[in-house]
């Protein structure tokens, strides 16, 4: 076996702490190595061409590239090897950057380590077996989880490209948090006007199967071949019969029993309700917890007034399974409720701001509802406690964000912009009102963003005070906001009528459960992990699952929409070919050695191990052995470690390859 070793300097990322020429020279005499070169940028075109030339010139059988992590350029070098005529699985990567040069600073010892890593890779490649990628059929249907603006955009893009989409939304209507907003920065478009047409487009799209008030329960299978189980919660209203006339809502006797979560607990809703007037689908839902029928079996007012007999109290949850090829997760975010937290929770909450104690201390979404024309105060600024028009409003930035000790350490990115918008909306409607904003740093990095904030300050006279607020307390109807003006260098006290807190954007409550259901990684805050922070921000590490919107990290509407279209594009790339090439890393059984104990079958998480009967010449079954269905096997290798006699091995990581790596140390 003739092996080529190619050491990359990666500019000076590797070259600085690993003496690449010495590594190349040291590997020259390794048994089996025919050529060993180093070059400044192995992954660049000249670098790859050099590899190809060496392979062709010296008729190499396998190559080892000492460069960055295989997660970065394994595919690149495998493609180069294929162009030069070598099987892609006779290429091994020695991770000299992330695992060596970047993490050590003593040149001698890190060069020695680099030599060891390359020698391990050389010994492994000697035992690599040429493999061909497995072809797997692709179900050309997409599942979009979450019906906010990101989910809507992704669903429309995929559907318009001609493929079927299943859009699953937990709430009774799609629209997500954007539908709660009054107007959006930086253009002050009314959010309903730009969102509702999109929602209707989704509802009427022939290729989008909209499943609202439903949740994903189970996801099985793998890229291109997912089987998704969805629970369609019972609305107690027959969707086909109901025309959305709303008579039942007006006639329902339970008025003040439950808050409308869409109105952020500023308004009540009856037992049968539609979250907001422009809801899509415009079909109400009956809330069993407060509906009189479920309490004492009487009532039934809605049944009487409903001309279409659409009410069905005994409707049960429906379980639907869908065959899916690509999954786009767009489950969005939640605002951080900053009142008292349970003792064991790491987050402390902000008791000193009186949120939850004083009615007029509200968070961003509540202010949006107050400012929104379809909100509880139909657009007029009335404070929740006594409905008076607030003459002095204080906005506080970074409540919970950028706060390691009491909240979350990250910046929630959009609060600077929506707070400027809030202040501007307030000044437009209450001309003689005063708006103060306590801030640390204004982060307005988008297109026309900073001009927007400047406009709020210069034209609308919003007073920005750089400093933190220490305490808020109520004094004869006024809210004393005590803070500090770090520029003037003195404490500040404002007697405000209303206070708006720009609280942190956090992951949804059940984000980690959904991640475990789908099988995608998530970080310590519950945001989903992208495959690579810079180069693969849309894909999750799990094949076939793409991320869109704030579920991946806090972001504003333009970014969410862009990310949604990108996720849609990724799904369409997947559907580009009928067959999907899959890594041939699957298990294979040596049937003559298998003793048929089937421990492998017990540990296989994908049920990829089947019982195969072995017949003798005259057809009598004399033995049962394990058989691996390469379509289902995902190559985890748990079976190989459980098999006592090592009769099952994993292609790409078989016993010899691992033994060689250990022995090469």
């Amino acid at each position: 076996m003739k092996i080529g070793v190619f050491i990359c300097h990666c500019g000076e990322n590797i070259g600085r702490t690993v003496d690449c020429p010495r590594v190349a020279k040291a590997c020259e005499w390794l048994p089996g190595v025919d050529v060993s070169l180093d070059y400044k940028y192995m992954c660049s075109d000249p670098g790859q061409n050099m590899i190809k030339d060496e392979i062709r010139k010296r008729k190499l059988d396998a190559i080892v590239v000492g460069s960055c992590s295989p997660h970065m350029h394994e595919k690149t070098f495998r493609k180069a090897a294929v162009d030069a005529g070598i099987n892609p699985f006779l290429v091994e990567i020695a991770n000299l950057r992330e695992h060596c040069s970047w993490v050590h600073d003593d040149i001698d010892s890190s060069t020695d380590k680099a030599i060891d890593l390359v020698r391990m890779a050389v010994e492994k490649v000697k035992r690599n077996v040429p493999l061909t990628t497995i072809e797997v059929p692709v179900t050309k249907r997409t599942l979009v989880i979450g019906g906010g603006i990101a989910g809507i955009q992704a669903a429309l893009d995929v559907a318009n490209a001609g493929y079927e989409v299943v859009l699953v939304e937990k709430e009774p209507s799609i629209g997500g948090h954007m539908s709660q907003l009054s107007e959006t920065f930086p253009t002050l478009d009314c959010s309903q006007c730009i969102l509702t047409p999109r929602m209707v487009e989704v509802y009427q799209h022939p290729r989008i199967k909209l499943m609202t008030y439903s949740e994903v329960e189970k996801v099985e299978g793998f890229i291109g071949n997912f089987t998704v189980t969805i629970r369609k919660k019972a609305r107690h209203i027959d969707e086909d019969k109901c025309t959305g006339c709303g008579l039942c809502i007006t006639k329902c006797p339970t008025k003040k029993k439950a808050f409308n979560s869409f109105e952020e607990d500023l308004a009540y809703r009856p037992a049968v309700y539609v979250p907001f007037p422009q809801a899509v689908p415009n079909i109400p839902v009956i809330d069993e917890t407060i509906c009189m029928y479920y309490k004492n079996g009487k009532c039934g007012m809605c049944v009487k007034v409903c001309g279409r007999e659409a009410i069905d109290f005994h409707q049960q949850d429906k379980i639907v399974t869908e065959e899916i090829g690509a999954i786009i997760v767009a489950t969005g975010y939640k605002l951080y409720k900053i009142d008292k937290k349970p003792d064991d929770s790491p987050i402390k909450g902000y008791g000193e701001y009186g949120y939850g104690k004083y009615k007029d201390v509200v968070d961003g979404l509540q202010f949006e509802r107050i400012a929104s024309a379809s909100g509880p105060t139909s657009g007029e600024f009335k404070r929740p406690s006594d409905g008076k028009e607030p003459k002095k409003v204080v906005f506080i930035q970074c409540v919970g964000s950028r706060d390691e000790s009491k909240g979350f350490s990250y910046c929630s990115k959009i609060c600077c912009m929506y707070t400027a918008k809030h202040a501007m909306l307030y000044k437009h409607k209450v001309h003689d009102g005063e708006a103060y904003v306590f801030y640390m740093d204004i982060r307005s990095g988008g297109k026309m963003y900073d001009e927007f904030v400047r406009r709020a300050i210069e034209e609308d006279g919003v007073k920005y005070i750089r400093g933190r607020v220490s305490r808020i307390y109520e004094k004869d109807g006024k809210y004393i906001v005590r803070g500090e003006d770090t520029i003037a260098g003195m404490p500040v006290e404002i007697d405000a009528d209303m206070v708006v807190l720009a609280t942190a954007m956090i992951a949804q409550q059940d984000a980690s459960e959904l991640a475990q259901t789908i099988g995608i990684p998530y970080d310590k805050y519950g945001f989903y992990n992208e495959a690579h922070p810079k180069l693969r921000p849309i894909e999750s590490t799990t094949g076939g699952v793409f991320l869109a919107g704030a579920c991946q990290s806090p972001k504003d509407i333009p970014e969410s929409v862009a990310m949604a279209s990108a996720a849609a594009a990724k799904a369409l790339v997947l559907f580009g070919s009928d067959k999907l090439e899959r890594e041939p890393v699957v298990a294979y059984v040596n049937e003559s050695l298998c003793a048929g104990c089937f421990y492998c079958k017990k540990v296989c998480p994908y049920g990829a191990v089947e019982v195969k009967e072995v017949k003798d010449r005259n057809g009598v079954v004399y033995k049962e052995v394990a058989y691996v269905n390469t379509g289902l096997c995902q190559g985890c290798g748990t079976c190989t470690a459980t098999c006592p006699s090592k009769s099952v091995e994993l292609a790409g990581f078989n016993n010899e390859e691992i033994f060689a790596q250990i022995a090469a140390l």
């Binding site: 997660h71 992330e98 993490v103 010892s109 380590k113 985890c636 748990t638 022995a663």
Partner: protein, 168 residues
């Protein structure tokens, strides 16, 4: 090998999805840790077999780390659960046979825990350095060399061991 500047040789069997990526993150964040550790990548911590550990000790490893995804985070959703039960037995057996607990350590490191990977690795290196060379297996190996000087080459002929500049 002289006692003072003796550098332990540590092998880490790591799973591809979590700990290997966590180590990459430690790289991209330029966190520093000792050079003693060399990683062997497998697809899942469920695929790491105790015979790997024995062979690593035989090949002169002074300490071994086995690391995978946190429970419930496994890319193949059950690999690390099987591993956890397997290692409880194997670790108990090695301990019973007189191999110090800290020679073979286990950890869960996720893809976003670059810092934790560095802490775990440094802890293993320091623990092993405190324990000194792995006398038990060294005696076995030396005995092996002296008893059958001529045979030594035959059995391991597949892998030539002369390493450039390795002080024996």
């Amino acid at each position: 090998m002289k006692e003072q500047n003796w550098e332990p040789k540590i092998i880490a069997f790591v799973c591809n999805w979590c700990t290997y990526t966590g180590a990459d993150l430690a790289g991209t964040s330029r966190l520093k840790y000792p050079t003693n550790v060399k990683l062997i990548r497998v697809m899942c911590s469920g695929g790491i077999d105790p015979v790997f550990i024995l062979k690593a000790f035989e090949r002169g490893a002074d300490g071994i780390l086995v690391s995978g995804c946190h429970p419930n985070d496994c890319h193949y959703n059950a690999g690390n659960f099987h591993a956890r039960r397997r290692w409880t037995f194997f670790h108990e057996l090695l301990d019973y046979l007189g191999i110090d607990k800290n020679r073979l350590q286990f950890s869960w490191v996720s893809a976003s825990e670059g810092k934790k990977f560095v802490d775990v690795v440094s802890k293993v290196v320091n623990d092993v350095k405190a324990m000194g060379p792995f006398k038990g297996y060294e005696e076995l190996n030396n005995e092996f060399m002296t008893e059958f000087p001529d045979v030594s080459g035959v059995d391991e002929s597949m892998i030539l061991k002369e390493k450039e500049g390795e002080a024996v």
